[in-house]
Amino acid sequence: MVDLSLKKRKFNDVLLDYALYIVLGAMILAVILVDPSFVSLKNITNILSQASTRGILALGVAGLIVLQGTDLSVGRVLGLCAIISSSLLQSTTSAARMYPNLPMLPLVVPMAISILVGAIFGAINGFGVAKLKVHAFIITLGTQLIAYGISCIYIDRPPLGAQPIANLDERYTNFVTGSLKLLNIEIPYLIFYLILVAVIMWFVWNKTTLGKNMFAIGGNPEAAAVSGVNTAKNIMIIFIISGILYGLAGFLEAGRVGSATSNTGINYELDAISACVVGGVSFAGGIGTIPGVLIGTLILQFINYGLNFIGVSPYYQYIIKGLIIIFAVSIDVRKYLVKK
């Protein structure tokens, strides 16, 4: 009798642990059933390369969620970085260059500038949370507006007004959208960039004092302070790292899309945050893994792409995405309650 109820409880726990993946798996399966041609090499490499910039963003925001924070400025900061990178890398033969007299820059220069801009925004967010003690939600709500404002001013060219920045330098688009041919399979460079970032972040999270301090602060900020963890410094560094990743992702995203406007990156924070939540990064703080974030990103990108592929209207897609976030978080909360 006792054993039976124990087994049942365990079964429910397991169900709870995997409920999200079961539902998301079912959605992917449904897409495949509706249109079996979804499973093709081309689609999969497309999904992977789209997931790459999103994945880099998600890896940035994941650390902030582990710190019991969040980041609403992801998309707008990425947008600003995308605009800046692309404005510095327009093809010299293009007629409508933003800086007509700009010589051909080595790719690393705009990339560094983009990363620097991201890092500055990360530092501002971090300063707000660590020193001003403003909740991450509020400070990043502010900085996302600031980033958007700067983007609009930067891109505005009176009397013409804001123009999309296009005609990008070929070196740039090749660097981003090129691919490596391995055994007849074209693997986009973007995937390698994501893997590189993921490996570095995995190292930071698991093998450095910074990573351990991050989990300690996220798990229990008071206990961390008593144990001598410099909470303000560590929070600042984690925010700056997130900004660096947004800057890198911004540089890659403009190259991937081939242009940038003041709308580039809009709502990307939602994708990044939901990827983290789906991947098991808990909003309660102190819990999360790098592979989890990657899996979360991939699953959501599969669904995103799949829904587009079978022709679901974008409006319905918004509703579905919203439901996934609510579902994911409510399961996360349940887990926490059960284990208490």
Partner: protein, 284 residues
């Protein structure tokens, strides 16, 4: 029950307290406290006229602590005993006063500085300010001096493993592995991990705030033993407790606080529970 296993069922009228404790702990606990084998020597810590900045806080607290001594701090709830420890440790800001460690002035502005200066604080609220519930026993053990296990910020797995092993073995922590979340351990074992965490920082002065609260009889005895062993190693130990028999059982001297002030300091042989209560009400 003991360690998740059924031990015995006996008629209520037939069982004595001693018998019950024996069954719970698995050995005789005829004495609730281990023998006091520590010896005091020179003065290690001097606190002079210490006052806190923000109320509720302490006022003009002065005392001395010797090497190898266990000083108990008694008082009513709200007599600011925890605030005294927090002010010494640099969590609460001090307004005036001086702290000398081995005759050298050491004013701790924050816990980081306190740890560097050789202080350790085991807080009263184990769950709120002690353990990291969701994190591993390992991280809970090494967090207070994690820098020691790293070179340029990169951690040495081997050093961390070694330190965790030391905590588990020397504190006799019962845990299935060092990777499990600390919240899966019993309160006593969690507390032992926290004590181990602080011993890894090699402190001179240990400040313990209600170290046996919410811990069962057997683990309490082990923690008393740990405290006495620390004193034997010439550390200075300060224990805040609301359990008077506990203070009388393990301390050398008892400082009684009343309303944020020192109401009296007595050798443990010259004080009774009644006197402690009387002193506790001195400044009310």
């Amino acid at each position: 029950m003991r360690d998740g296993k059924w031990v015995a069922t006996e008629k209520a009228e037939n069982i004595t307290t001693d018998r019950m404790i024996k069954l719970m702990v698995g050995r005789d606990l005829t004495s609730r406290f281990p023998p006091k084998t520590n010896k005091t020597s020179d003065i290690i810590l001097e606190v002079k006229n210490l006052s806190g900045m923000y109320p509720p806080t302490i006022k003009n607290v002065s005392f001395e602590l010797k090497k190898g001594e266990i000083l108990g701090i008694a008082g009513l709830v709200g007599s600011r005993r925890s605030e005294l420890l927090e002010t010494i440790f640099g969590i609460a800001r001090k307004k005036s006063g001086e702290i000398f460690l081995n005759s050298e002035r050491k004013d701790n502005k924050n816990p980081r500085q306190a740890i560097k200066n050789g202080f350790a604080l085991i807080t009263e609220e184990r769950r709120a300010t002690g353990i990291f519930e969701k994190l591993s026993v390992e991280l809970n053990a090494v967090i207070a001096n994690i820098k020691k296990y790293s070179t340029f910020g990169v951690l040495s797995e081997r050093k961390i493993k070694g330190a965790t092993r030391w905590v588990i073995d020397s504190m006799r922590v019962k845990t299935p592995s060092e990777r499990v979340q600390i919240k899966t351990l019993s309160g006593g074992n969690q507390q032992k991990v926290i004590i181990g965490r602080w011993l890894l920082t090699e402190p001179e002065i240990l400040l313990l705030d209600e170290p046996t609260r919410g811990i069962d009889v057997g683990a309490k005895y082990e923690i008393y033993q740990l405290i006495i062993d620390l004193a034997k190693k010439n550390k200075g130990v300060i224990v805040v407790s609301s359990e008077m028999p506990e203070l009388l059982g393990i301390c050398d001297r008892i400082l009684v606080m009343s309303n944020g002030r020192v109401a009296g300091i007595r050798d443990v042989e010259n004080i009774t529970q009644e006197e402690i209560v009387e002193l506790s009400a001195k400044y009310l």
